[in-house]
Amino acid sequence: MNLRLAVGFLLVISIVFLGVFAPWIALYPTDMGLFPRDQKPSLSHLLGTDSIGRDIFSMLVHGITATLMVGAMAGSLSTMVGVVTGFVAAYKGGLVAELLRRLIDIFLVIPVLPLLIVLSGTLARQNVTYFTLALIIAIFGWPGAARNIQSLVLSLKKREFVDLAKLSNERDPEILFKEIMPNMLSYIGATFGMQVGAAMVTETALSLMGLGPSNANTMGIMLYWTRQFAAITRGMWWWFLPPALVLIIFFIGLQLLNMGLDEVFNPRLKRVTGE
């Protein structure tokens, strides 16, 4: 196991651990402001309190859970749709596949974030739940996954074992599952990781603008409250730095994990990039 894989895995798994065990790790409830406001970190409040009076450490841990949940839901949805549509777009001929290819091209050019803002901004505020948010993000996120899968299937399509399978009279779904997919598993995993990361970035961006679920508690919404109370101008680093740093650590860990897995599954790449 190389260093990159180990470090990446460690970073990602520790944050996921914090998220999964949040109800036991978080010391205080976070739905009401119960504590003295704007407190610096101390022994009783590990990350201090915010301007409403909530314990920031508890909010952070619950926020990790929420953001990871939205990211995982959106990531799995967009990866599933992306795998199917990527395969159809790359493998089959005909009108449907052509339309799908054009659709993927269009979605990759259009700036997706303003579109997401229009979509969730016009939704009535009380209808936005975690799942709705994940659905919205996945609706515009699947073309990214589809494009990855599409280029991969295109290159695999030309290999000999596919011709052999076609000669043996295998039908298309059989070819997909028995021949092509086993060669793609590592790439599908990497695409899933990337989609989860991208979904978390998008969710945080939307929540920063104020479009997250109303009573929810993702890290993006924590940052939204920091903006509302001008926390940076007041120098309250203990409020906005933890969510920002947790997100950065998670993304860097994801990147390291991807690079490490790449080295394990595709050692040919090592020579090409000259490392």
Binding site: R102, D105, I106, L108, V109, I110, P111, V112, L113, P114, L115, I117, V118, L119, G121, T122, L123, A124, G197, V201, T204, A205, L208, M209, G210, L211, L223, R227, I232, T233, G235, W237, F240, L241, A244, L247, I248, F251, I252, L254, Q255, M259, V272, T273, G274, E275
Partner: protein, 348 residues
């Protein structure tokens, strides 16, 4: 004597014309698609902006805020006035005609300002910030990529590449928050928000321009530091592949100077995928810059969008999406046109 040889004029369209027409068609189809999505989305929920505003008022301030207003009657009136009671096809046609004329209606959050006025107030600064930052980060990325490719395998290569790889994964707005805190609060070098100073009046004078540059540095830096890594790494891998090609060995054997090799062989071959990469990531960078503008309260489309979200103004949101898409697609078209000029393979 070559002019004496007359070529028969081909009836076929030249490849460059075919290429340009194809790109124009793609531009129109994509724009039409975006415009149609813009049309469909609010009608999915049967949104009526006045009703939304009234309900928002009722929710925020209680029943007294809308006492005496007969909601049903106001809603029916606005539906008639906005043409929402016509059938879908008529609505769609008149909508397309309006979009063609850049007529986005009247903003309900800032009644009675037309939306076009709001957009033209905020758009130039957005475009200026984005354009400047893109040019600087793309050019710096290309130059650094070539430089680092020549030094591949060395200590500086591995450290710089790893640093850029990690920087590239940070979202723009997170870096923006950190930069505001470090450079704005702790060290107080740059201002933490705003586009120009309080008493500065926009105009073509030195005070305004220097104030604008001073206030735009942090937003530009947040976008620049993140995207620089992407361009550098892409250029580096392209150049590393080129350096192993046979024609490079031939050029070195011919005894050409290093600068000539770089200009003639490396740049001309490596820049093309870089330009494609620039066109493909424009949409993503524009989206990110909108959020950065919100964080900095910069006078750009991002702040307008945040305000529109806060006041429930659907027309402004839709118009902002249309304008951003239009800007990205136009930029893509321009990039495609420059491609036709610099890539000899397209000329056939």
């Amino acid at each position: 004597m070559l002019f004496l040889i007359r070529k028969k004029i081909d009836v076929n369209i030249s490849p460059i014309c075919q290429y340009l027409v194809k790109k124009l068609v793609v531009f129109c189809v994509t724009l039409w698609f975006a415009v149609t999505i813009n049309f469909v989305i609010p009608r999915l929920y049967r949104v009526n902006p006045i009703e939304q505003q009234l309900r928002a008022l009722e929710m925020t301030y209680g029943y007294q805020a809308i006492e005496g207003i007969d909601i049903k009657k106001v809603v029916a009136e606005t539906r008639a006035r906005l043409g929402l009671d016509q059938d879908m096809f008529t609505q769609y046609v008149s909508y397309l005609i309006q979009m063609f004329k850049f007529d986005f209606g009247i903003s309900y959050g800032a009644f009675p300002t037309p939306v076009v006025e709001l957009i033209s107030y905020y758009l130039p600064y957005s475009l200026g910030l984005l354009f400047t930052t893109l040019i600087i980060s793309w050019s710096l990325g290309v130059l650094l990529g070539v430089f680092i490719a020549f030094k591949r395998g060395s200590k500086i290569d591995s450290t710089l590449t790893s640093a850029m790889l990690f920087l590239n994964r940070i979202p723009f707005y997170i870096l923006a928050l950190i930069l505001i805190y470090l450079l704005g609060y702790v060290f107080s070098i740059f201002p933490m928000s705003g586009t120009y100073g309080y008493h500065v009046v926009p105009g073509f004078n030195l005070t305004f321009i220097s104030s604008l540059i001073y206030h735009s540095t942090l937003p530009a830096l947040s976008i620049l530091l993140v995207s620089l890594g992407g361009w550098m790494i892409m250029m580096r891998s392209t150049v590393v592949n080129i350096l192993e090609e046979d024609y490079l060995t031939m050029a070195k054997a011919k005894g050409l100077r290093k600068t000539t090799i770089i200009k003639r062989y490396i740049f001309r071959n490596a820049l093309l995928p870089q330009v494609t990469g620039l066109a493909m990531s424009l949409g993503h960078i524009l989206g990110g810059s909108l959020i950065v503008e919100t964080v900095f309260a910069y006078r750009g489309l991002g702040t307008l969008l945040a305000w529109a979200v806060g006041s429930g103004d659907t027309f402004v949101m839709q118009a902002t999406f249309f304008m951003s898409t239009f800007a990205v697609l136009t930029a893509n078209l321009i990039v495609d046109l420059t491609y036709a000029l610099i890539d000899p393979r397209i000329r056939g």
